[in-house]
């Protein structure tokens, strides 16, 4: 469904080219959850931006549903590291923003918006502005907006990076349930290996900048997964260790 074909991306800074992504090849199947893991600042976000059609690859192409992505890809919902809530809108109006853009009437916006807000545990905060919320609550609002939007594919860029461990688990659980419900395809970028193994069907390990594919591992843990306890199973541990073995090399090189 998503095909990354020999994709490279270079940025030019003061005349010098900086390679963010080099020679990347992979595919994502429909309703698959793929996690991309690697050292921070390695060009993972650049990859998501290219799938979203916000950047054009320097070489190669991104193919989505059989068509080469050349403009903004409106089939995806994109949750960036920044929550990108509109600061002048209340939580309700932010979450329902995609519905408003689609020209859906106020009554239905409120109904569906409040429903999603309850799902992400923000009920009681519908009338608040983003500046009145904590970082975790803003993340949840952004997640709610993406879920309500109901895009075919969700691109998640370190969606829960700033959350504390307990909240992160709660969000993982919520996300897995809602994504299964909406039958969404997910590309998740993270630097948290635990998160990657817990959520994904396949995990890709990226090298340091420029991002290249170092390892691909299929996580054949059964679904639905119990995010609280899955990490204590032996199968989880084997996957974790194998990925960590490869990932460690990237961090070691960085340290030298």
């Amino acid at each position: 469904m998503i095909r990354i074909e020999n994709v490279s991306k270079s940025f030019y800074k003061n005349g010098a080219a900086i390679d963010a992504v080099r020679g990347m090849n992979f595919t994502v199947a429909r309703e698959e959850i793929v996690a991309i893991i690697g050292p921070s600042g390695c060009g993972k976000s650049t990859l998501l931006n290219m799938i979203a059609g916000l950047y054009a690859p320097t070489h190669g192409s991104v193919v989505y549903n059989g068509t080469v992505v050349t403009d903004v890809n409106t089939a995806v919902g994109y949750m960036t590291q920044k929550d990108n809530l509109l600061p002048w809108r209340t939580v309700r109006d932010n979450v329902a923003f995609p519905l408003e853009l689609a020209g859906i009437g106020k009554a239905e916006r409120v109904r569906r918006g409040d429903d999603v807000i309850r799902h992400v545990g923000l009920d009681g905060f519908e009338e608040r502005y983003p500046s009145e919320l904590s970082g975790g609550m803003r993340k949840r609002a952004a997640l709610g907006r993406m879920l309500l939007y109901g895009a075919e594919t969700a691109l998640l860029d370190e969606p829960f990076g700033a959350l504390d461990a307990q909240l992160k688990l709660a969000m993982h659980d919520l996300m897995l349930r809602l994504i299964a419900e909406n039958r969404q395809t997910v590309v998740l970028v993270t630097h948290d290996l635990m998160e990657a193994v817990t959520l994904a069907d396949r995990v890709f390990v990226c090298t340091r900048r420029p991002a290249m594919m170092a390892l691909e591992q299929r996580i054949d843990l059964p679904r639905p997964r119990d995010v609280l306890n899955i990490r204590f199973s032996n199968a989880f541990k084997d996957h974790y260790d194998a990925l960590w073995e490869r990932l460690r090399l990237e961090y070691q090189e960085e340290r030298v």
Binding site: N84, F97, P98, Y149
Partner: protein, 275 residues
Amino acid sequence: MSGPAGSTQLAKDVAPARPTPPSRHAVPMPVWQLLLGIGLLLAWQAASGRLIDNFFISNPIDVSVRLYRWIADGSIFRHIGATVYATAMGFVIGSAGGAVLGVWLGVSPTASRLLNPYLNALNALPKVALAPLFVLWFGLGIESKIALAAVLVLFLVFLNTYAGVREVDQDLIDGARLMRATRTQIVTKVIIPSAMSWVFAGLKIAMPYALIGAVLGEMIAANRGLGYLVQFSGAQFDTAGVFAVLIVIALLAVTLNYLVELAQGRIERWRIISR
């Protein structure tokens, strides 16, 4: 120049910005501000006729009497009305034009590049120099004052709006595009609300200039308005009259600024909360 008028404005500006320290001073700041004002008035009264010729600085009593007489016979209200009308109309027309121009050029790089040198030249031009042209075009009536006020306001609001539109977070725009926002929706639902605080900064700066434009227009050629009255009083060597008009203008300016701030507070509730 305008002693008491100036101190009134200063007090209004400073008071909300500086929270009064509790218990440290038994006497609250507004009392000190009032005392200072009274002190200045007394000093003015004392200096007049003794240190400095009454002809040049008049004195608070004469000024008060003059103000009272104008208010009692109602003649001042005709002038205030004319000036307020010209200021308000100029402000509205100028800010609407400036905001539209700012948004348009802000979202259209081609147009802004094309018009750039001309806008720079127009902006550098002292707009006051256009006054004779406006008198020729719009006559001696209130229209030429409105035009002068509007053109002063227009550039200030335009520059701020333009800067605000260029400052909009590209990530917010990209986010909206991914959610299938049309170009119009991006402008109305992302760019304009985001630039709103810049627009308001422009409006706040521009408000006094609307008054300047109106008063200046009245000083050049008019038969009513506060600008006309201050010019007329000066020509009659009526210092008390000049001071009286200055006080009225200063009070008017403070009121107008207050109204803009009030409007901003109502519209930008989210920003006030985040402070």
